[in-house]
Symmetry: C2
Subunit: 348 residues, 2 copies
């Protein structure tokens, strides 16, 4: 029934053209040493037969697959999918394909099988774009992992032994705090992300350090932990208002929770920013549309991903050229403040 849908091979092209497979191969790879006439003829035959060379046969012999392994987690969230979006674009541009592996929570603890699976498919390099949560990156320190394959880590704590690309969350949070301070806020509370996340801890540390650095008290009542979700932002904001009645600003660790906080304040009739100013983090599209428009910290995940891919490819291709790869780098991108109505109290 199925006439064995066998792909067109280089052999058939060669046969039709009456040349050896090598000549066809040379045409495919744009080698100079083929006469113009044969080249033209072969090209035409390739067209007619709709011949498409097998990338995997090539990988096998060349030991290069032009494929990147990408490890991600939590694609249903906006951050990871934005990053993946950037990776696919950058990889496409560089002529690399992407082998995608999304981790479930349980898999993150033991990376070895994941690396092995990717390596068994001959990826040229691996981009590890999994958020650092709890102990899930402990294995990095033990460097028990050989990592003979070029690997770039995204959004993880910088590390002397690995190449990492990340956004400076601490700096971003400092921007937020400095902005609120400038607006005259002196009782700044915090709704944190889940503190087993490294990024959440960074943002919270900056909040705390800023208060200390400006001789403002830091009490446990001044902050609440959420879980990034909008849903968690509602009880968090409510609790914070109760615990910290003098509060005149909230730095919220992400926009989702910040938008919920807006809702809670509205419901209670608290004026924003006059009574309480709000700053979020991430700059999701919605943050510009809500009332009042949310001041936030923009992190450019797209750029993050592009830099990571470029870095990755540079390492890969240097390796192919036998060059020394040099020490692993950490590239840190700086987020920016997007000031909107939710925090602007005074014209400056």
């Amino acid at each position: 029934m199925n006439p064995k849908p066998t792909r067109t091979t280089i052999k058939e092209v060669a046969a039709v053209a009456g040349v050896s497979t090598m000549t066809v191969s040379r045409v495919l790879n744009d080698r100079p040493d083929v006469s113009l006439t044969t080249r033209m003829r072969i090209k035409r035959i390739i067209e007619e037969l709709e011949y498409q060379p097998s990338a995997i046969a090539r990988s096998l012999i060349q030991q290069k697959s032009y494929t990147l392994g990408v490890v991600t987690a939590g694609l249903e969230h906006i951050g990871p999918s934005r990053i993946l979006n950037g990776i696919t674009r950058a990889a496409e541009e560089a002529g690399y394909a992407i082998l995608l592996k999304e981790l479930s929570d349980s898999q993150v603890a033991n990376p070895t099988p994941i690396f092995q699976k990717l390596l068994s498919r001959h990826v040229d390099g691996i981009i590890w774009a999994v958020a650092e949560i709890g102990e899930n990156h402990k294995w990095l320190e033990n460097s028990s992992l050989p990592l003979e394959t070029p690997t770039v880590f995204l959004t993880t704590e910088p590390n002397k032994t690995q190449t990492t690309v990340l956004i400076d969350n601490y700096y971003g949070a400092q921007l937020a705090m400095a902005h609120l301070f400038e607006q005259g806020c002196r009782n700044i509370g915090h709704i944190a992300g889940p503190l087993d996340w490294w990024e959440a801890r960074q943002r919270m540390s900056a909040w705390k350090d800023f208060l200390i650095g400006h001789n403002m008290p830091v009490k446990d009542a001044y902050w609440v932990e959420g879980d990034w979700s909008s849903a968690s932002g509602i009880p968090a904001a409510a609790k914070l208002l109760t615990q910290y009645p003098e509060i005149d600003a909230i730095f919220v660790a992400n926009d989702q929770m910040a938008l919920s906080a807006l809702q809670v304040l509205h419901k209670r009739g608290i004026r924003i920013p006059a009574e309480i100013a709000i700053v979020g983090f991430d700059n999701i599209p919605e943050s510009a549309c809500f009332y009042p428009a949310l001041t936030t910290i923009q992190q450019n995940q797209h750029e993050l991903a592009c830099v990571a891919v470029q870095q990755m490819i540079q390492i890969i291709e240097q390796g192919w050229q036998g060059k020394d790869i040099g020490a692993p780098q950490s590239i840190v991108l700086l987020p920016t403040l997007i000031a909107r109505e939710s925090s602007i109290r005074q014209k400056s």
Copy 2:
């Protein structure tokens, strides 16, 4: 400098074990015909050498790669990334890897090179998860595409010649309309998605047909077109209120725009749902958290993706077994109504 990081091969394992590569291969594939002792010995050696068979060498000889090509677009949006999320999970479970290709707008028009690139990497099947926009799927009708490779289309208009998996947008919109009608609304406006999207047209058609079916007038002033974004929801809602003063309900084509509509109504002091009821579409996590909580239509993209992958794999493996594949199917999943405060006017 680089000691040529050559992978461990089956040959080396065989050499260490003092057997032929065939015997190792048999152990790898759990063939019965190896003596227990040799099997154990070889397994141990595999462990020690951390040998990992080359999946691509296997693909080459077996003509099966256990890899699915996934074509997507607009990963920065929630819908596509949810679907991708479901695909990765289902594929993982079935033991298939994923080769991801994200299209930019310009690429969608001409699918041939995309298919070719995936086929050159020997994917066993292709999942086409690109929204149907404008003429971007025109090529499907011309069936100029041979599609010798199993292909499943997601979220596209059903089609006699291709296997498709989709959610019934028309039905979902009917649910929304019937619900509003039950709540006593008789002047139901619509904020549509961009009408070059097939899904947006489906939702709008159901709105219009419902009105006609219930002897309610349909005028151009009763609907406005948005572009799915929260930002577009604001002017859309404002315009609708002006054009259609008697309006007592809005069916909004997605939640992002619906949340913006909530904001606009709040600002104008319009009570929801008492004066105007709102229903959205998608059930994004935020929709439960805003005030008032948004009634919406839930589409289960996760399930959609799982069904697609299962369908895909079934087709692939039937093909391997030489079975006839049978006619292409269209699988339609039904969305459900999530009734929340934004539309509930009366206890039932």
